[in-house]
Point group: C2
Chain length 152, copies 2
């Protein structure tokens, strides 16, 4: 944590949207020589309370995480509901999606970025924390993800 606007300058994750997570996960494992992780599915709306474009959504995805030291590569296959994941798959195909930072104080960070013209596009809860995607493409050339853990 630092005195910067997000409280951190440590990139913790790179997210990649894919249409076929099983094949992509096998390829990451083989080409990079890293263990093949278990592929998990995110929960439905009752658990995630997900919102996309300001509306509740049953956005769900299959996820696979690869550990590359400081940085995790997250593969994301959209499987249900409207989401930034599905939008990107339809518009750009398999492609890099976001750069993530681990922050504290989700509400104030979202508000600060909003005040700098970077809008929230999707948010949701998961076991142990929550995420938010902000569309910083016009400013930074990338979607940002903020990740907050309950344990501080």
């Amino acid at each position: 944590m630092t005195g910067t606007p997000l409280g951190t300058t440590t990139i913790t994750q790179i997210g990649i949207i894919v249409g076929d997570i099983e094949a992509k996960a096998r390829a990451w494992s083989e080409i990079l020589g890293v263990p093949l992780p278990q592929i998990r599915e995110t929960a439905g709306y009752e658990e995630t309370q997900a919102e996309y474009a300001g509306q509740p959504t049953n956005a769900r995805a299959k996820l696979a995480f690869f550990d590359f030291g400081q940085v995790t590569v997250e593969l994301i296959e959209p499987i249900d509901g409207p989401s930034t994941w599905r939008d990107q798959l339809e518009q750009h195909g398999d492609s890099l999606h976001h750069i993530a930072f681990r922050i504290q104080g989700m509400g104030e960070k979202i508000a600060w970025l909003g005040g700098h013209g970077i809008p929230l596009v999707q948010r949701g809860e998961f076991t142990g924390g929550r995420y938010a995607y902000l569309d910083a493409v016009p400013q930074l050339g990338s979607i940002l993800e903020l990740l907050e853990s309950d344990a501080t």
Copy 2:
């Protein structure tokens, strides 16, 4: 370095294609709270010996590098010649472009990836080393960049 195919599993860089590097660099500095780097221009063909799609190219770009610990964010604005940079800007606009690994033995690494269906798309020299982009989008969902330094 490890016994993996690329000899490393450390992601060292995330590349972002932008149409307006001065504005994007200012925004990265302001939003993330990191120093504004100098923007530099890559050299012409005589120095880079760059090849794109198997042909010599005068591909040039403006570059800005931001230090985020283990990972550098590289902003790239294409300014001359055919390149993977220009292709992506035309096809996808401002967008995440590549994940980079620092390797040794450029020729053998390019050959190994080629043997696994991941073709070389662009390569070139710079002061102190060389780079290669490989189109791993069908396999991994991202372009890979290999970076090799002369000093080992």
